[in-house]
Symmetry: C2
Subunit: 433 residues, 2 copies
């Protein structure tokens, strides 16, 4: 028993024991039972929409009364629920219910010399502790995926959404009880004390995996304090590199999509790298499209000296600063650098990229293959927008986040990524020689 | 840039940059080149055996001069090399060279609606930092697997084997240079300062995965100090549970194998659980076999009160103490407890097991399936010895260790487990709608 465990209060020990026991029951649950719970939760969410919206209005009102911070409008928007967003949550629950159960999938099956039969079987991870910020609907998405994959879940949302999430947890607990599943498979933490989170991050006996999902501050806090393995949903500092031989019309379309279709998400482009041989033709046309009078949301540019020269006299163009190429803008703003070679582009991405999604636009298959081999990101694109890195789009049935680490999973964390593979053996008194 | 990175000395920064650069070259290396390096290393090991044995003799002599600690004989034995052990190392290198290269394996391939082509391709993890104790041959095994899977490797062995490992690193570097591979893909750390290890454990920008392999002290040290994801090779506290309906002749054979075939390894049985309905028939016969006059290495028993009663008057039987059932003996010693039910056995394993390898002996398929579902270990056996949990035996081509965590890999860490899967996309100017 470690020191950390000895400091647990009896209440906490009891709670964690209950979660572990519930996780064991869930591990053995059939797909049918789990899907009934998810569909019941969808119906309950719709029925209880008025109560959810009332609690959410109180959360939003409190944020409105507080001090005005930078990014407050975007923050408020992520916090806010309405009927349409509740309908989307319910729809998400039904979609996950319709997916195949990953638990029990036989990944490999074979007989060893000597006759021992060996199967590798997909199994739940166990108990997952997810810490998230602001968007209360993440609670429902996370529950649906973790639960369907057979895992008990501890959820700790931002304090700004605590009233909303408290009602969502009630709904999910009611759905669990209605199908005779132990409600302890979900512990929705409504205690805003950070000390409890710190204590939980040390309980490796009780918690198998920690999933932080939020800004850099949250991720750093979790990495520093956790002694439990982590699936990290880190930032996305994604690049598009346009080689000298690229189709420039396609390049304008792809860059516009990667930058502006939804700039606040992690798979949006943050930095454009352009080969010197394409810059003079590409950048003015691209600027007109993204930042000209006809652009619906004009994009600001932070450019290297050569970019500035090529766009001289145009609006919304400023010099890149020391931190520009390490900044995830998450907004209608982009960094731009002209490079002299493929190698310089790869080097830039190695130095500044977050190993999330990276793209090359080129007519050369050989160069594209080199890029895909040398750029070590979770997703590497040839002649396409970075925006496809997404669990729904890639057919994983949603995602708990997008991993930028290399262990366990790279890219979207879907149902299957919330399991791991165990070895099951059968013999007739087999012994090792 | 984090604080930890700012404290790097210029020398360390240069070294880590060199490793990262070498890792990129290795990522693109062909299987043929990698296999040539491994075979060259095998030949060089054999040629340089006298130098290796001289360095090893100095390491052993220093241990012999030091204070006599408990377990010193086993420790000395693990440290000691001879011609046969060097031949085994060379043979291991040639075996890994003969295995299929996991890098580039296409795990999945498909075309999304809209025509974007998607492949999931196995790729190296990047830079691995392995910390190990005492057995110097681990350095060669670890290098062969990490290198073949395309990863650069930092190796930090125990200070007792530093002279031996220094010569082994020279041999491996020479093999790399002989095939024009950058020697920086292997950094054999011969600086015994623990401060360097602590600094490295915080360099998540430069190191992708940490693999500690050793005793609990080492594992705890790494878990506490690392901000890099870990593949943990933890202890193995493995159980065999004999149900009331088990074939008792087979049970004696399986338990003897699980306990005594090689008691110092992590997949050996530490605790025997026996259903009350089988205990009176099983335990005396088992005691005679394991601890009687004819036993080659008599086994000591630490038993619960019912075990003591059933074995009254027999030698080598002592009462279990408070810590008995949490102890990994790694020796000719076993814990034994009589239980009243299947549930009590599962509960015991849940509380005391290390989620490594667990076995049930029963004639009931239904009960065996329940055991395999409810006991959440990396490997769960029905009617077989726990000793099969091993990378060579299971066809993984060796192992870097055996993981008891749930992320990334459970059980033996082979070649494939030293890679992860990336997404590679190809389009013709595809954008997301």
């Amino acid at each position: 028993m470690t020191t950390a465990e000895e400091t647990l209060t009896p209440e906490l020990l009891e709670r964690l024991t209950a979660v572990r026991t519930a996780a064991r029951a869930l591990r053995a649950a059939t797909a049918e039972t789990k899907d009934r719970v998810l569909r019941a939760a969808a119906t309950l969410l719709e029925e209880r929409a008025p109560a959810i919206l009332r609690a959410n209005a109180e959360d939003v009102a409190e944020v409105d009364r507080g001090p005005r911070k930078p990014g407050a409008a975007a923050f408020r928007d992520r916090l806010l629920l309405d009927d349409a967003r509740i309908a989307l949550m319910a729809e998400g629950l039904r979609q996950v219910a319709a997916l195949a159960d990953p638990v029990g999938e036989v990944v490999e099956s074979r007989t060893l010399e000597g006759g021992l039969r060996v199967r590798r079987v997909r199994s739940p991870l166990g108990v997952i502790f997810m810490i998230f910020e602001s968007r209360p609907n993440v609670a429902v998405e996370a529950f649906s995926l973790a639960f369907k994959a057979g895992n008990a879940l501890l959820l700790r949302g931002g304090k700004e959404s605590m009233r909303t999430t408290a009602v969502l947890y009630e709904v999910l607990h009611f759905a669990l009880s209605s199908q005779r599943m132990p409600p302890d498979v979900l512990w929705g933490i409504t205690d805003p004390d950070r000390g409890l989170t710190e204590t939980l991050l040390r309980q490796k006996r009780w918690i198998d995996v920690v999933v932080p999902r939020g800004g850099e501050g949250l991720i750093d806090f979790v990495v520093r304090n956790s002694s439990i393995p982590i699936i990290k949903n880190d930032r996305g500092l994604c690049h598009v590199y346009v080689h000298a031989d690229a189709d420039l019309d396609a390049a304008v379309r792809v860059i516009e999509n990667a930058k502006t279709q939804r700039p606040g998400v992690c798979n949006a482009m943050e930095t454009l790298l352009v080969h010197a041989g394409a810059a003079a033709a590409l950048l003015p046309a691209l600027h007109t499209r993204l930042s000209g009078a006809a652009a619906p949301h004009p994009v600001e540019w932070l450019g290297c000296p050569r970019t500035l020269r090529l766009l001289e006299g145009r609006p919304l163009v400023a010099p890149a600063g020391a931190a520009t190429f390490d900044t995830e803008h998450l907004d209608y703003r982009m960094s731009c650098r002209v490079v002299d070679s493929f190698e310089e582009a790869v080097e830039h991405i190695e130095l500044h990229g977050s190993r999330h999604s990276e793209a090359i636009l080129t007519r050369s298959e050989g160069l594209a293959r080199r890029f895909q081999s040398e750029v070590d990101a979770a997703a590497v694109y040839w002649n396409a927008s970075t925006r496809f890195t997404d669990g729904f789009t890639l057919g994983l049935g949603g995602e708990l986040g997008i991993s930028t680490q290399k262990l366990h999973v790279r890219g979207p964390v879907g149902l299957r990524e919330l399991t791991s593979v165990r070895w099951l053996m059968e013999g007739e008194g087999h012994v090792r020689g």
